[in-house]
């Protein structure tokens, strides 16, 4: 049986207390949310934090509700809760759809949206979804709260715009305009079931069926969830029939800092970005 190296375990009762612990222990501390990324790496001793700050006992960080024109999701909300939320299903089809593709039921029962966003695993599904929905990520630090646009949040492989003593507390999604559809498609790694390539797509059409806005994000293929700006530009202003979508999606691999490993070469990932993008966009259009 694998066991982690020794660490001190701290139960934070509030976000403020968690921040104080981060300030106290600095780089020696790690935050524990659902733990399904962190604990395996600790058991393999790839991560050996001296202090573990458990966020699980902080009340009031798990919720999904509407506030005016936004739906807000608490950072400690589990994937399972998201997967079964009627409110999210009504407005953001790809969020429950993509969440249902994460890991297995046991992982989804523990894993949290805030944990996944803060971890910024290049092959995780949630960063791509959050980015495609152009969410605001609310974080709290010693100086109080601030909100970071998803487009500025995911900065690299396991890297985000979070400052050392900041904690993700909430994700805010603006309610979509009328005739908006969204979808998530994924070519899964058959071992880990992380994305070899995933695509999150959101499109809004006008009453004539012309695309007025598009948000397309590729995950898994490169070092971080990445917006496919060329694809988006090629969609907007067009009637999205199969040919138009295929033409636009052909750019999905452009500009990606592609990864290659035993689960998919760079060339394969690049081409699968195109395939996944086309399929996700077509499905989103169908739902718009």
């Amino acid at each position: 049986m694998s066991v982690p190296a020794a660490f001190d375990y701290h139960v934070a009762k509030s976000v403020d207390e968690a921040i104080a612990l981060l300030q106290q222990y600095g780089d020696d501390a790690k935050l524990l949310a659902g733990g399904h990324s962190l604990l395996p790496t600790m058991k393999l001793r790839l991560a050996q934090p001296a202090h573990l700050v458990d966020l699980g006992k902080i009340g009031g960080l798990s919720y999904i509700h509407q506030e005016d024109a936004e739906v807000v999701v608490g950072a400690m909300t589990t994937y399972t809760t998201i997967e079964h939320s009627d409110l999210l299903r009504r407005h953001f089809a790809l969020l429950p759809e993509g969440t249902a593709m994460i890991g297995d039921q046991q992982v989804r029962n523990r894993g949290t949206i805030g944990g996944s966003v803060a971890h910024s695993d290049p092959a995780a599904d949630m960063p791509g979804i959050v980015l495609a929905l152009k969410a605001d990520i609310v974080v709290q630090g010693p100086k109080g709260k601030r909100s970071i646009k998803a487009d500025r949040f995911f900065t690299g492989m396991f890297e985000t715009a979070l400052q050392p003593n900041e904690i993700v507390t909430e994700i805010r999604f603006v309610l979509p305009a009328a005739h908006t559809g969204s979808a998530y498609t994924k070519l899964a790694n058959k071992a880990s079931h992380y994305a070899v390539v995933g695509c999150a797509a959101v499109v809004t059409l006008d009453h004539t069926g012309i695309c007025v806005s598009a948000s397309v994000v590729i995950t898994g293929a490169s070092v971080r969830a990445t917006r496919a700006s060329k694809v988006e530009a090629a969609l907007v202003g067009r009637k999205l029939d199969e040919a138009a979508v295929a033409a636009a999606a052909a750019n999905a691999g452009d500009g990606l800092n592609l990864l290659g490993d035993i689960h998919g070469s760079k060339a394969y990932r690049g081409q699968m970005a195109v395939v996944m993008a086309r399929r996700a966009i077509l499905k989103a259009v169908e739902r718009a």
């Binding site: 066991v3 393999l44 001793r45 058959k190 992380y194 035993i262 394969y268």
Partner: protein, 777 residues
């Protein structure tokens, strides 16, 4: 539960309530007062000299009781013995001590063991051991490892080839020439059967407890072979057999990988003998993937000759078996002893030529994994039959039909020397073809192809050899045993030398006893897995337990039944010849009212107050069953796939299996075995594969990288069976533990090649590989 018709009844497994409610005891549940814990330091290199090992810091670490290296074990712990040596491997080549000495030969090779008060301390101290390695180039590709100049695992022998078998080819050459001269064909192909990790849900584990006062060692191990483990381990640590007791508690899957003795069992036993305290070791998942034996890993060059009509005239196989770095107990014989005898599969092939090289590489040892040699042999012949059909433009089902051994040819002596017991191969094929509606399916395929879709249909008509084994098939008799006792209460206690670990013999053996004694199945207890209470047995593997162990149980029951008839006859004042047992009652033929119950006879025998003079009290007997011959299950699997042109992903649309394992004691359990077998077979075909880098690093070291199929990725299995009894055991049973694995892999391979309209693609059929073929990249 009724009694009559117990054999053949699909009752639920009696094992399951405790297993699915968490009330079963596995090795890790064994906790002994004062128990120590072991952590094993392993090589991070595939091949390296050990210059020095410094354990000082680890020894000084608070809570550490001992640190052992090969040096400490010298003279105290022997090398792992090969169970069935081919006899031609040079002495010392592939020999394995418990801890690596001077050199490490694969990623994960154990180098040192830390014994500490708790697991965390042991694990922490492991990081304090300093080993100075001199990394060496590694021999990873088996064909390159055979070449001159390859890095050598055992330098003193000057080669990595452990053993070669190269008989003259004159006869097969003539057959090939004649076939060609007569207008026939010879098809050549190279097939790779990739390396797999057995990866049972429960990893290996051991608790060793030595009591100095009695010089007795008790070992709890997650094993398939309690008696063999006791016999081998006692010799390795220098204790008489009667002072070693092996207890196998619940085992969470074996698939062959627990049919072995491993360094950790040896070192923990040694450590307990040294410290006088119990020592526990539970394998980590990543250790399991790296150091527990792997399966398959064979490269085959195959030539098959056939007439224009498709009748096969000759088969030539040159097999290269990748042994990995050491000989575990069956490593050397998997291909030659288990695979080669069934090279011709279900077909009447007059001339067969088999040659082989078995070769060491810097990888984990290979050994028995579900099917062990037979999946590889089946894959070879089934891929070859498909290629004959393709070359001749014939339907693969019809080419198979033309070549089948016919029902009236049994017992059939194959050109390999194997003698097949019984079979009706065409019957199973026809049933499977009817189930898929083969004609319509081929018509659908034509339509789909016209529409640009990649649909494929694959057929595999497999046979298996199991029920090991007849006298002389191994250096030790491969019998099984049963001790059966009818107690005063009428309860029947059965102690079996077999060691079921998921196969469900606590249920099926009880069904056999219940049927024969005409008592409720609830009154039959099946005990196994403790060498102190069960008679000597060889364990559970190779689909042998019901055929061999079940037959021992059956024969023991017959013996006791005769004695009970004698006792009943005395009670009924009748002749034993006139007494019959029916519905739980012994009665006199012709006058059923004159009867005594099974329980009355059991009580009489055990109380010994009404027995006739000279009748020995008690009802207990021990029977050993050594089969006269092997059994040959068979069947046909048909797989229908569709491949996504854009991604290369394969979806199994249908999977039909018709299996014949002889008499079915419990059809529900037969189905369960087939389900699991197909899942593992499909796993090999589509996604599984252990991969090493050229330097010997293991690339599939966790389940994040080693893929296995999920139930949600598998189709609904459409199952049926035929029943062809065997004549080599009293139950008429064959075996079904491995059939699903053996039959399914070639069916998927056949379907994928058919979908792509190519002669052959090597497994696994991962999406990117097929995508490249589809797009000719």
């Amino acid at each position: 539960m009724g009694v009559a018709g117990m054999v053949g009844s699909p009752i639920k497994r009696r094992e399951d309530p405790r297993l699915i409610t968490g009330q079963a005891t596995y090795v890790d549940d064994i906790k002994i007062h004062g128990m120590l814990h072991m952590a094993v330091l392993r090589s991070p290199y595939g091949h390296a000299h050990i210059r020095s090992i410094n354990t000082d810091a680890a020894r000084r670490h608070p809570g550490v009781v001992a640190v052992y290296t090969a040096e400490d074990l010298k003279g105290a712990v022997g090398n792992i013995a090969i169970a069935v040596p081919l006899g031609k491997i040079a002495e010392g080549m592939g020999a394995r001590g418990a801890l690596a000495e001077g050199k490490v030969r694969f990623f994960g090779d154990p180098v040192a063991a830390v014994i500490a008060e708790d697991l965390y301390t042991a694990r922490d101290a492991r990081d304090l051991i300093e080993v100075d390695y001199e990394p060496l180039p590694a021999a990873i590709d088996v064909e390159k490892a055979m070449q001159a100049g390859a890095p050598l695992l055992y330098e003193e022998f000057g080669t990595n080839v452990a053993f070669g078998m190269h008989p003259p080819t004159d006869e097969i050459d003539k057959v090939f020439e004649k076939t060609k001269a007569d207008g026939g064909i010879v098809v050549k192909t190279r097939l790779v059967n990739q390396r797999l990790a057995p990866a049972p849900m429960e990893t290996r584990g051991v608790v060793a407890e030595y009591r100095k006062a009695s010089r007795s060692l008790t070992v709890w191990s997650s094993s398939q072979i309690p008696h063999l483990l006791r016999n081998i381990l006692s010799a390795l640590v220098g204790l008489p057999q009667h002072q070693v007791r092996v207890i196998v508690p619940e085992v969470g899957g074996g698939f062959g990988c627990k049919l072995n003795i491993y360094p950790e069992e040896m070192v923990s036993a040694f450590a307990s003998m040294q410290t006088g305290r119990a020592v526990k070791w539970i394998e980590e998942r990543s250790e399991n993937l790296a150091v527990t034996i792997h399966g398959r890993d064979q490269v085959d060059y195959v030539e098959i000759a056939a007439t224009r009509e498709g009748k096969v005239t000759g088969l030539k196989i040159y097999g290269i078996s990748d042994l990995g770095s050491y000989c575990q107990i069956f490593t050397d014989v998997i291909m030659i002893a288990f695979g080669f005898p069934v090279s011709c599969g279900a077909y009447d092939i007059p001339t067969i030529h088999l040659s082989a090289d078995i070769v060491f590489t810097n990888k984990a040892a290979t050994d028995a994994y579900r099917g062990a040699g037979r999946p590889e042999a089946t894959y070879i012949i089934e891929r070859a039959m498909d290629q004959v059909a393709r070359e001749l433009g014939k339907d693969p089902a019809e080419v198979r039909r033309l070549n089948f051994i016919k029902p009236d040819q049994f017992p059939y002596k194959a050109a390999t020397g194997a003698v097949y017991d019984t079979g009706n191969y065409e019957g199973a094929l026809d049933k499977a073809l009817a189930m898929v509606d083969y004609k319509s399916l081929r018509a659908e395929q034509v339509q789909k192809r016209a529409a640009g879709k990649l649909m494929g249909i694959g057929i595999s008509s497999y046979i298996e050899i199991c029920g090991f084994g007849p006298k002389g098939s191994a250096p030790v008799g491969l019998y099984e045993s049963a001790r059966v006792r009818v107690e005063q209460s009428g309860t029947v206690m059965v102690y079996t030398g077999s060691s079921p670990h998921g196969q469900g013999e606590e249920t099926t053996f009880a069904q056999i006893v219940a049927e024969e004694f005409t008592v409720p199945v609830e009154n039959v207890m099946i005990m196994h897995g403790d060498t102190d209470s069960t008679p000597e047995g060889r364990g559970t593997y190779g689909s042998r337990t019901t055929a061999v162990g079940g037959s021992a149980v059956f024969n023991a029951v017959q013996r006791l039944k005769e004695k009970m008839k004698q006792i009943a006859a005395h009670m009924l004042e009748a002749s034993p010849a006139d007494v019959e047992l029916e519905d739980g009652k012994f009665s006199v033929k012709g006058s059923p009212q004159k009867a005594v119950s099974f329980g009355d006879v059991a009580a009489a025998a055990n109380l010994s107050n009404t027995l006739a003079p000279g009748v020995e009290p008690g009802l207990e007997t021990t029977v050993f069953f050594e089969p006269e011959a092997c059994v040959f299950p068979f069947g046909t699997h048909i797989c229908v796939v569709e491949i996504d042109k854009e991604t290369g992903e394969t979806e199994i649309k249908r999977f039909v299996a018709v299996d014949d394992c002889g008499r079915q004691i419990n059809p529900l359990l037969v189905e369960g075995q087939v389900h699991g077998g197909i899942a593992q077979g499909v796993g090999q075909a589509l996604i599984e594969g252990v991969e090493y880098g050229e330097d010997g690093q293991l690339l599939t070291a966790t389940l994040m990288d080693y893929a296995m199929p999920l139930s949600s990725e598998l189709p609904h299995f459409e199952l049926d069976s035929t029943v062809t009894l065997t004549t080599v055991n009293p139950l008429g049973v064959k075996g079904v533990g491995e059939a699903g694995t053996i039959g399914s892999t070639p069916a998927v391979a056949s379907a994928v090649a058919d979908a792509l309209d190519v002669a052959h693609v090597d497994m696994p059929f991962r999406a990117e590989k097929l995508w490249k073929i589809i797009h000719q990249l």
